[in-house]
């Protein structure tokens, strides 16, 4: 049994301690907004916030984040930065297939909380998640729009 804090709620989950957080979120807690893409921390579709920092949950043993503050896409609009990003995503029609966008938005949220007015290089350094639809330019535009709205 592991106790974790997800989107402000304490959850006790009956899984092996080395289970990746991704599968605890998806299968145990039913929070399917966080996506599985590669399982080896390459694509970033599984990105969540751990104490505000963007982390790839497919490679995070759940026991390693016990007691830490975990935020998933389902709670993104509870955060003013996340809400601005969602608004920008909607205004610009950023997603295409949408599968990577949960991870992209979590990575973008971490970026703007750390660097409210990011330079192009900041965006490039922070936004390493893959998008097979090629929405990279729209994602960057969304980040800039959300930053400008702050």
């Amino acid at each position: 049994m592991v106790e974790i804090s997800v989107n402000g709620a304490t959850r006790r989950v009956d899984v092996e301690g080395d289970t990746p957080l991704l599968w605890v979120l998806r299968d145990t807690l039913g929070l399917t907004g966080t996506k599985y893409g590669c399982g080896v921390a390459q694509c970033g579709a599984c990105t969540v916030l751990i104490e505000g920092a963007a982390m790839r949950s497919c490679q995070l043993p759940v026991e390693s984040v016990a007691g830490q503050r975990i935020t998933t896409i389902e709670a993104i609009e509870a955060d003013p930065v996340g809400a601005r990003l969602v608004a920008a995503w909607v205004a610009l029609d950023v997603p295409q297939c949408g599968y990577c966008q949960s991870g992209q938005l979590m990575a973008a949220t971490a970026l703007l909380k750390e660097t409210p007015q990011p330079a192009e290089a900041d965006i490039a350094a922070a936004m390493t998640n893959l998008c097979r639809c090629g929405t990279y330019n729209m994602i960057a535009a969304g980040i800039r729009q959300a930053a400008d709205a702050a």
Partner: protein
Amino acid sequence: MRGQPAMTRLDDALATLGPIAPRNLSRRAGLLAGFGGGLLLAIGVPPQPARAQAMGGIAHARKVSAYLTIQPDGRIRLLNPFAEGGQGIHTAVAQIVAEELDADLAAFEVTTAPAGADYQVLFNGTRRVTGGSFSIRNSFQHFRVLGATARAMLVTAGAARLGVPAADITTEPGFVLHAASARRIPYGDLAAAAAALPVPGDAEPKSPARFRLIGTPARRLDTRAKSTGAAQYGIDMRVEGMLQGAILHAPRAGAEPGEVLNEAALKAMPGVHSVHRLPGAVAVLADSFWRARRAVEAAEVAWTALSGQPVVPEDFSSDGMREALRAQADAPGNPARDAQGDAPAALRSAAKVITADYDAPYLAHAQLEPPSATVRFNADGTLDVWTPNQAPEAFQAIAAREAALDAGRVRIHSPLMGGFFGRHFTYGQYHPMNQAIRLARAVDRPVKVIWSREEEFARDAYRPMGFARLRAGLDSEGRLVALHATVPGEGPVAKHFGGARLGNPPLDTSAVEGVAFKPYAIPNRRVDWAHVPHPVNVGFWRSVGHSMNDFFYEAFLDEVAEAAGADPLAFRRAHLEASPRHQALLDAVVDLAGGWRRGPFAAADGTRRARGLAMASPFGTEVATIAEVSLRDGEAVVHDLFVAIDPGSIVNPAIIAAQVESAACIGLSSAAFEEVVFEGGRPQQRNFDTYRILTRAEMPKVHVRIVQSGAPMGGVGEPGTPGVPPAVANAIAVLTGRRVRSLPFARNRLGEA
């Protein structure tokens, strides 16, 4: 409204396939009992090719109740024959219906229609797939008539309610209006009455001059759900009581599992329910995917004799395959239908002959959502299937065969797809749906099967490796008088539809398109196809044969221009003199790029840059592409892509621009980095750590100009892809002084000239 769109080559190939013929399936069932296998689209084949058949048609356009439900609150539910995987089809189809129905686009809720005769909107009302960049161009009239018919019924119902003649009724978005008495009724209040009316057979779509939505960059309907984690994909499916399955395929396609040596130990692992042998694979069912996966990856399997299914030989390698293709580069082949003159003879008498070999590798689709299927056998004898798919009827037929049920008892649910790019047809015997059906039967519970990324890359239906030998002849004036290409290989059409369906003489259009069917005026031209089968599975990949063949041709064309001492743009223009459409497209792309300059030139940021140009004619659409490139650390840096696209006429320019940018991105990704290498019969790239795709760091700016020439409507999802690899390669050649004739670029370090 324009006439029926002209058929293109892939259209031709698919048009020969004819309507669904379930009787063929049942006859074949005996042969393919067991792991229902398969034909790509599981369709019967008429004795005569039906090339003259209309592509679209309005056979089902007045079946309003099959498509539309207007709820009392005004929400409009639309069942779309096509599946949504990022291309924006749910929005674009709703946009057409909203135009004619006179409704707010935002009122629409769109889902993919179940399997059924009413949704066969392609091929004159006989079939449907989501692919071939077919959807809008072939259903535009269907959805216009559908919307107009529904509106006419609402008008009639409104007139009756208000007690006025129907001729006095108009509409405004979402309302029936009687202007004389200033009364209006929401559609939601009239829907029930309207639905009870006879369906008029004569409702006419409005004049395009009165379009208020079509042609505008209307907002997509699914953006918010996709920006908050609320969008549901197949992999997110959960049904009561289900078990989750993880799969381990044989190391090499064709091997079968013998004993699972440590089965008892696997069963003792946490959460594990059971261990199963499947055709070509082992599966573990557990109470969560992670537990199932951990167990299946611990399985010690004695893989045994090869089955009767297609087998990848133990000594198969992609390097060997490339040489096998090259060995047939001078073989006599069957000519593509656009042959004219006598190219071999004209080459013999040409003033100058240029010959080059080009090749491109196997590619993975690498859609970000790994494949999955959830299945549930119900107490009433029916089966529910949730799986990402581009062809519900084909999946229904295969599921029925696998489950030994009548097709009518199988419900196919088609969720949002986390990318597809051609991945989600049924390419053969290895599919999560077949596996889940077997497992659900075995344990008498619902089952969800997910393929790990590693299993997906091992059992993808790859973009085929391609090869072409091109020979060009110039006359003494430097004009192209002969082009003879030989394209040995196999595309997905020959692979999955079989030789009997390629026409006479047999031609796999999916193997030659992009080398054949080019617009340039060359008096003697011939493209030969020599069938060299791929031992590995191959499938449709964004823009299909064009994805590599336009690279072969357009890069070679730059070589020929150079041999003629001509500028690449001027050389193309000189061979397109009789085509105002292509000249206009070149004008557009040059204007978009701020003028044509080949380079090398020094850019403001100090980089040394060059530009490359390419043209492509895919899926009924014309495209011209300019790439601006520099070199850094032995790799090409693509700064800008300028793409002018002429799909004839359009529905939603914002969606088209997004699709072109997306298609350009995957084209650049494939040209620069992507390659599945086979050694020992096994793919060496099993995840994104070794299968490199384009990241944000390499993403160029993409500038799109949409040209509406008024030609018959063409596709938009794929055409942005094929011009990018040759445009970039042509710029690289300027910078390095050397031709890249083998993709991807990353295979070679690029050096300055």
